[in-house]
């Protein structure tokens, strides 16, 4: 069976429409088999056992080598990726420079080299793969000459200890499809870029040449047609960037001299592969503008290797791969798949991506303790909930239209006990009795899913009028990426009119939201479960209520009035109820209310509890 297609990183409304239609269209009536994750182990003939004799040689080489260049910066950083997976990228302190690794160690013993092969490694992103391996490996290692060949990913390391530690990582890592990753370790000769590394004089001249091509004001380095630079030719230095040793040397110089490089031009260098260049992702991740035009890149897959750079501008014209597309839109789409944040391609402005354009606030600032949610995130959610329930509890829930996405989903469930002879008072929640399904499972009443914000708000408006006890709320933020936030609220509320007036209910509501303008949130999924509160919950409800200034019959606020209350609350720093009172007292004259507020505040006449606490 082919269940829904996994949409890579496309959580735009258009993407959601496709999901919705694919949900309706793409499967038959078969019941899906629920499968366990995991697969059968690899056939035994693929399991490695060669080279194991060598592993037992306990000689270990020192990992730290003499670095002739200036100090390496500590490059630890944490980076978040999207797709609902939280990846942690840690750049290790690079104590082992490529240059220092010759064939001899400091005490004159040969440092043995090993080739590390990951079969089927071709499908893994280099950064993810290296980080996964490093996180499982007991010894820090520096991969040399990482490249993809046929189905495999390959790189080299030096030292028996390192190689042995890497061998132990085999079968320890699970990929995203729950397959175990195998790592083969074999002795090898010195890798290319090390064997043919540039001489110090060559490096020096290359550096001087590159300096001339560097524009410090733009942080741009122009290396087009580097091979034919008169300086290099004059000194008989052949810099063919296709060759790993040359590319490595070039990147090293960039890393050391232009560590915050923004723009790199590699046009006209006959590049047919990007394995070598992909090392730049770890070495100089600041690059946002990349010119690869007029090279020999054949397939878009090569560009995948550069995904780790969050490019804003890319030049590709003049590569064979450009001719493989039937039309411009397909070409652009394929490139955008690779670099979702791309703004310009071949000099042409692209339509900005729906969510990730620069105006939209990033929900998650990269920070180390983001699992728990940064404080900014917490207060964003709490503020959102305050506003949401303010409207929800006011007379008119139409205002909630702003809070929902066009394609949002909402569902409501209540427990239903078959022993009740009289229908549960909760059945008030299903006023649209036409839509109530005859429950197959008699213990549960579930209203069918509401889709689109109009339908949702329509059905919310019909639910009994409520007053929520905000102080009872327990908020769990349990999932966040740059594009999506998921949190649950547990709490109680009271029904304030109708047959069940005074009844206290307990609820659990889960929201999935995406960032919206004005540092606010937009709901895409809303799941609500309501049940009767227990006697002890009822007793404790509303006991911590702050003195509200509204009279017992809560006036219904118009949309405009609600907006005034928020704005006032944001500007004055007072809680919503107090802001509302101030505006009401001043006949909803915003300016006058503001003046009165300022005056009272200066006179110290406003109590502290009127103000919002900063969480």
């Amino acid at each position: 069976m082919q269940p829904f297609k996994y949409d890579d990183g496309d959580s735009s409304p258009q993407g959601r429409k496709n999901v919705w239609s694919s949900l309706r269209g793409n499967f038959g009536r078969r019941n899906p088999r629920y499968e366990r994750g995991g697969y059968e182990p690899q056939p035994s003939h693929l399991q490695e056992d060669d080279g194991s004799v060598l592993m037992r040689d306990a000689r270990e080489d020192p990992q730290i080598r003499h670095t002739p260049y200036s100090t390496r910066r500590d490059k630890r950083r944490v980076k978040w990726q999207n797709e609902g997976h939280i990846h942690i990228t840690m750049w290790r302190d690079r104590k082992t420079p490529r240059r220092g690794m010759g064939e001899n160690t400091q005490d004159g013993n040969p440092g043995s080299w090993f080739k590390i092969t990951i079969p089927y490694g071709r499908k893994y992103d280099k950064t993810w793969l290296m980080n996964s391996i490093q996180s499982h490996c007991s010894v820090p290692f520096t991969p040399v000459d990482f490249h993809y060949a046929k189905n495999q990913a390959r790189f080299f390391v030096q030292g028996v200890g390192t190689a042995s530690a890497l061998k132990d990582v085999s079968y320890k890592i699970y990929d995203e499809e729950n397959r175990k990753i195998t790592i083969f370790v074999n002795p090898s000769s010195v890798p290319y870029s090390v064997r043919y590394k540039l001489e110090p004089e060559e490096m020096e001249q290359l550096k001087l040449t590159m300096n001339k091509r560097y524009d410090i004001s733009q942080k741009a380095l122009d290396l087009q047609s580097l091979r034919f630079d008169p300086d290099l030719v004059g000194h008989d230095i052949d810099i063919i960037l296709n060759r790993r040793n040359c590319m490595t040397a070039t990147l090293q110089i960039i890393e050391e001299n232009y560590p915050e490089l923004l723009s790199l031009n590699l046009s006209n260098n006959k590049l047919y592969g990007l394995d070598g260049l992909s090392d730049i992702i770890e070495m100089v991740p600041t690059v946002k503008i990349l010119n690869l035009s007029k090279n020999e890149l054949n397939v878009v897959w090569e560009l995948n290797k550069m995904k780790g750079l969050e490019l804003e501008e890319l030049w590709l014209e003049g590569n064979p791969l450009c001719d493989t597309f039937p039309d411009q839109p397909t070409y652009i789409s394929a490139i955008k798949d690779c670099f979702p944040k791309l703004l310009r391609l071949d000099g042409q402005e692209l339509s900005p991506p729906v969510i990730t354009d620069t105006d939209t606030p990033c929900l998650l600032k990269p920070c180390k303790e983001s699992y728990k949610g940064s404080d900014a995130l917490k207060s964003l959610v709490l503020q959102f909930l305050q506003q949401y329930y303010f409207i929800y509890d006011s007379g008119d829930r139409q205002g909630l239209l702003h809070a929902y996405h066009d394609e949002a989903c909402f569902s409501l469930a209540i427990p239903f006990s078959p022993e009740d002879s009289a229908p549960s008072s909760l059945c008030e929640y299903f006023k649209e009795s036409r839509n109530m399904k005859k429950p197959k499972d008699p213990s549960l009443c579930v209203q069918p899913l509401k889709h689109t914000k109009c339908d949702i708000v329509g059905s919310l408006c019909v639910l009994p009028k409520t007053q929520h006890d905000l102080s009872s709320f327990l908020v769990d933020m349990w999932f966040q990426t740059e594009k999506m936030l998921c949190f649950s609220v547990n709490g109680v509320f009271k029904e304030v009119e109708g047959k069940s007036q005074g009844s206290v209910r307990a609820f659990t509501r889960t929201f999935i939201a995406i960032p919206a303008g004005n540092s606010s949130l937009c709901i895409v999924n809303d799941e609500l479960f309501v049940r009767d509160a227990t006697p002890s919950e009822t007793q404790n409800a509303f006991s911590n209520q702050e003195p509200t200034l509204t009279s017992s019959s809560m006036p219904t606020l118009s949309q405009e009035q609600q907006e005034m209350v928020y704005a006032f609350s944001t500007q004055s720093g007072m809680k919503l109820e107090w802001s509302q009172k101030c505006l009401q007292d001043n006949e909803w004259n915003y300016t006058r209310a503001g003046q009165v507020f300022t005056m009272l505040k200066n006179e110290g006449k406003i109590p502290e509890e009127a103000f919002k606490q900063t969480t």
Binding site: S22, G38, E83, Y174, E176, P415, L444, T508, T510
Partner: protein, 126 residues
């Protein structure tokens, strides 16, 4: 059946999950992946290994879950979010209410759980 696909998948997963949990929760590793995250009563655990370790080390021998309500929705990125409310009984302790949410994702024709959030209800159900 007539049920929408996400309900079928969600309820199938839920059934499988609690069956595994109640019979032998050390086997739960199969439904998580390395990128999964569990939030258990506010504490976070990342990765299949850490999650299974937490669940296996919970301080009870016998456990039984009974589902009061479950609800499923599709999400914008083709995942499924499932909500479960129910009761559980551990060893000889009194019955407690709980509430759990799962985020399910399809990876190579198998549905795995990428996020799991569990909370005990503050008070017993009636």
């Amino acid at each position: 059946g007539d049920k929408p696909i996400w309900e079928q998948i969600g309820s199938s997963f839920i059934q499988h999950y609690y069956q595994l949990f109640d019979n032998d929760r050390t086997q739960l590793g199969a439904i998580y992946i390395d990128a999964s995250c569990l939030t258990w009563e506010g504490q976070q655990f990342q990765g299949k290994a850490a999650i299974v370790e937490k669940l296996s080390s919970l301080p009870f021998q016998k456990i039984q879950h009974s589902i009061t309500a479950q609800d499923h929705q599709p999400t914008p990125d083709s995942c499924i979010i499932s909500m479960v409310v129910g009761q559980l009984k551990a060893d000889e302790d009194p019955i407690m209410g709980f509430h759990q949410m799962f985020l399910l994702k399809n990876i190579n024709d198998a549905w795995v759980c990428t996020n799991d959030m569990f909370r005990l209800a503050l008070h017993n159900f009636g």
